[in-house]
Assembly symmetry: C2
Homo-oligomer: 395 residues x 2
Amino acid sequence: MMKIYKKAILPLGFTANGLYCGIKKSKKLDLGLFYSQTPALAACFFTSNAFAAAPVRINQEHLKHARVFKAIIVNSGNANAFNKNSGLSAARETVHSLAEILRVRKENVLVASTGVIGRPLPVAKIKQAIPYLVKGLSRGGIDKAKLAILTTDTFPKEISVKCDIGGQTVTICGIAKGAGMIAPNLACSERSRGVCPERSREATMLCFILTDARITQRALNLALLQSVENSFNCITVDGCMSTNDSVMMLANGAAANKLIDGDKNLALFLRALQFVCLESAKLIVKDAEGATKFIRVRVMQAKDFEQARKAALNIANSNLFKCAIYGENPNFGRIAAAVGASGIDVSEKDLKIKVSPLQQKEIKVEVWLKRGNASATVYTSDLTPEYIKINADYN
Amino acid sequence: MMKIYKKAILPLGFTANGLYCGIKKSKKLDLGLFYSQTPALAACFFTSNAFAAAPVRINQEHLKHARVFKAIIVNSGNANAFNKNSGLSAARETVHSLAEILRVRKENVLVASTGVIGRPLPVAKIKQAIPYLVKGLSRGGIDKAKLAILTTDTFPKEISVKCDIGGQTVTICGIAKGAGMIAPNLACSERSRGVCPERSREATMLCFILTDARITQRALNLALLQSVENSFNCITVDGCMSTNDSVMMLANGAAANKLIDGDKNLALFLRALQFVCLESAKLIVKDAEGATKFIRVRVMQAKDFEQARKAALNIANSNLFKCAIYGENPNFGRIAAAVGASGIDVSEKDLKIKVSPLQQKEIKVEVWLKRGNASATVYTSDLTPEYIKINADYN
């Protein structure tokens, strides 16, 4: 039995906070903190963009050198990406400052940023705010943290599940952000190495997943890999891969359940985590910049999952298809052309396409390839004049 | 010396015509014919979309079985693509009907279609019109033919050059169409096999190139391959590869120049052909649906041409970049993110980006990678609310 809550409920042993430190012109909250009272295991997936932002690089170092983690600090309004070496030192200063106040090693702290690319991070403002951020940590602080990570989002993305695993109630909570520059191609971090393929797929999307489950590192990596591949790596808003995309998960074991490693308990945990990841990913697409439609593209009977996802992503990223959906204008030819351009194994005589009525807010596109038994579902939005307005006037 | 004419001038030995046969609701010209009085060599490049339209498939058969060609018939308003087997028989009937009236073998006729995908071609209307189309063939008919191939285009695309090669004046004339679904990935046809790579790049764009040059098949293939790679395969409007993209060239030898095979004469011919292809490709981008800007993305110091073009295409296909240009809003971060997402060899510290003032109609983006000596230039347009309007209301 899995209980679902459409809000963020902190698992045992976690506190959080959020405040305005001075980055956003709008004076909205722009600095958030997630804190585990006991050392937690981590599993992370980051963008495969060659210009990964400074916080992503710092995390990759920390994940290599530490086995447990205490906190994740996140700023919004500035991506701390593509600002030359200033980015790395700014991320390091942030981490160092937080670690000092928390009295932990800097490697035990993870960091994330989202916002405009190419500008120096105002690290002095962040450092000034950190003592207040830590002082204000509380269970209820999650409701500030979930706002502090937002940029062009119109609502916070939050989902929690509780389920019985290994004799205890385990909670998994997902807090996400993202509305544009969404086409994640997340690859696993150093810690997850060994369980993930060489590369995966194409957002700034951020998702922080907190759980009180007791689980082995190996099982945690495996569960997050499977969950990310079918969720965040299956969404696209505009086909533009960000420099900051990150899924960062902490598991602190505070539920004191029987250790999850394999078998039935891992299956239960995986099912719950998959739900949290998929719901978080769908919430990002539902808030897509300028969107009027939520589109589900399902490709079936493919040779393998990769081919199914490739075809589905090619449809979902087709501007012509997205315009047709916006116009409520059925155009099977554009769907077919996108499948044909995807480079997968397919023939015209075998292809079948079905599209639900276009007057509704949620659209379902189904494609059959007659090549095998694999399938993939990709979530996307329509392309609208409002998307262009948002992104033409962003700065 | 190369003389340039910004209009279609038929080379020696060619005639053409265009008329309204009943396909387009707008009652604009929708059937065109290019005719060579003597048998001509052909070189063709077609879409690499798995669902290549029926005319493309018929041409591939003809190019396999015939060595010389007499005519190209083109309809607009209907792509004759993705309409099951009706497409192939409709294309065959068209060709058969024309061949009979011209008194040539059906293999000596080539065919092209452009327009809406997924509808049966009204072949009866075409067959009825063919006798009039042939009867009206004339030197001046090119001015009807160039209109008969248009769809959402706002102007005809035409360019001609004359140059002295092998003791005679050789003329090369390019007539093109295309405004949306432009992201050619043209691969060479059967006849060109052996000189071209396994696959090339990502329009419905059509371009018909006519020349009176005397040239060997090998030299013709080589010259067209080099010209297409740097022109049509370097443009993108919306990243959507069509099922109908075709570049079809006829060379009838009527100029009676010394046979072009290699050496200096091929170099002269190549230079002229490259100019015709590049100008035709640029005219397509200049007429891009809804565009307000013409953008030239040049990537330099790449390891090889493929990496340079890949990075340039990734920038040119970025919706966020295209929106920023529309908004006249400089955003280097979006350019950098697109380069980083392209999967090429690059590092943040080596990357340099320069963008010309955005208030102008023509924008130049320059990117330096510091990896080698190769470069590529890709041409594209901005993404505007008008593009969405056109493509939401298309049907």
